[in-house]
Amino acid sequence: MGTNQTKKASPFKEFALFEKEITDFANKYKTIVVNQAKRTSEYFEMTCFNYIVRFYELNGYSLEVKNLQSDKYRYKCSPAGIQSNFSHFEATTKVGKRKISFEIQHNLAVQSSQDNLLFTSPDISVIKKGKVKYTNEYYETKTTFSFVENKDLMTFCEVKQFNPFPELLFNFIGVLNELKVEYMTNSGETHISAHIAPSLMISGKPNKQTTTIKKSLENRYCINIIYDLFYNATFTFSKGNINDLRKAGQKPSH
């Protein structure tokens, strides 16, 4: 036995020690945890964004951070704000001799595919490069509104830090119907460059009912519903498993 091996304790037998160690940990890092805890929902979104970036990386795209603000990556935490004041990732791939670039944006308003006057902001959207538009006509206050036209939207993702429940899942289909109506009839366009299919990423673990709903919805639409994000995402977004995620277009026929 190596001398460096730390002795393992049993939390069942050594209850007092277990309690003491948790208390020591909590007290030692209290200040940092308290300071950071107010940003946990942003950190969750960032976690999901990170996985989407990884999807593009594993699909052969080169990635670059764009639009730094004063040399900083400025993260857009909410739909409010002018998009050009925030940073994003640019994903570039080669199709033949041509290079095509897309932007992975956070909280950008996207025009509806059903009505040009309607907009909604998915948490993450992948759009054609340089297609963010600005208008002062959207708000009554004439505040600048940033958006992307529906034809320039490649795909989108919604992220939820909840345990999955039926209404949450069906709401996503409402967003899909608004932003990618062609997916409702399985007529999504398959692109030469790979894009992740519209996806719902949920932190919580499913139960029997929500597992059944996921199966049913994925059977009907070309989408990904990813549960249990903190534990399964490393596996789902790994090199060996990335191809199990559906790509934008039409759902595979079984």
């Binding site: 939390p11 037998k13 160690e21 030692k28 940092i32 929902s41 942003e42 990556y73 993260y75």
Partner: protein, 169 residues
């Protein structure tokens, strides 16, 4: 004195009200359910003498899910930005996540993992949807640790035996 304060209160002390409320409510609901299951059903009886340990695990697992995993996500996102951009700072609202700040968060995550490792707690124990699933995982962990302990003692005993057998008298 410190041991008299419930761990859930220590873990949530000074956290933002909303987050603290979510953690605390989840803890109370699950604890009530866990106590009921252990008292009522034979399946969960192996935990009858470990109610206090169940309480610690429950506190830690909720804290894990609602705090630690998000901190870990921040560290990973920071890494992706640094890898793909000419910057060393992520600005979130008015807060600058710099390399130094990232290291502070990383220290929390690493020490948390060390704590789990010290008590042979696999991450899978922290993953559950239903309380009954959580209790079943604790029963398995308890049994695994007891078996490992038994085997270790057995090895030592056998080891001593063979030494004795080697003696000339």
């Amino acid at each position: 004195m410190a041991t008299e304060t419930p761990i859930i209160n220590i873990l949530t002390y000074k956290l933002p009200f909303e987050l603290s409320k979510q953690i605390y409510n989840e803890f109370q609901n699950r604890l009530k359910e866990a106590n009921f299951l252990i008292e009522t059903y034979k399946t969960y009886k192996p935990l009858k003498d470990n109610i206090k340990t169940v309480e610690l695990f429950l506190s830690l697992s909720i804290f894990h899910r609602r705090v630690i995993t998000n901190l870990d996500g921040a560290v990973k996102f920071y890494g992706t930005v640094i890898k793909n951009g000419q910057t060393d700072t992520v600005r979130i609202g008015n807060y600058n996540l710099t390399g130094e700040e990232k290291n502070k968060i990383l220290a929390v995550v690493m020490n948390y993992n060390t704590l789990l490792e010290k008590f042979s707690i696999p991450l899978v124990v922290m993953e559950y949807y239903e309380t009954r699933e959580f209790l079943k995982k604790l029963i398995t962990l308890k049994s695994d640790l007891e078996n490992a302990d038994y085997k270790e003692k057995g090895t030592k005993r056998n080891g001593n035996q063979s030494d004795e057998e080697g003696l000339p008298f």
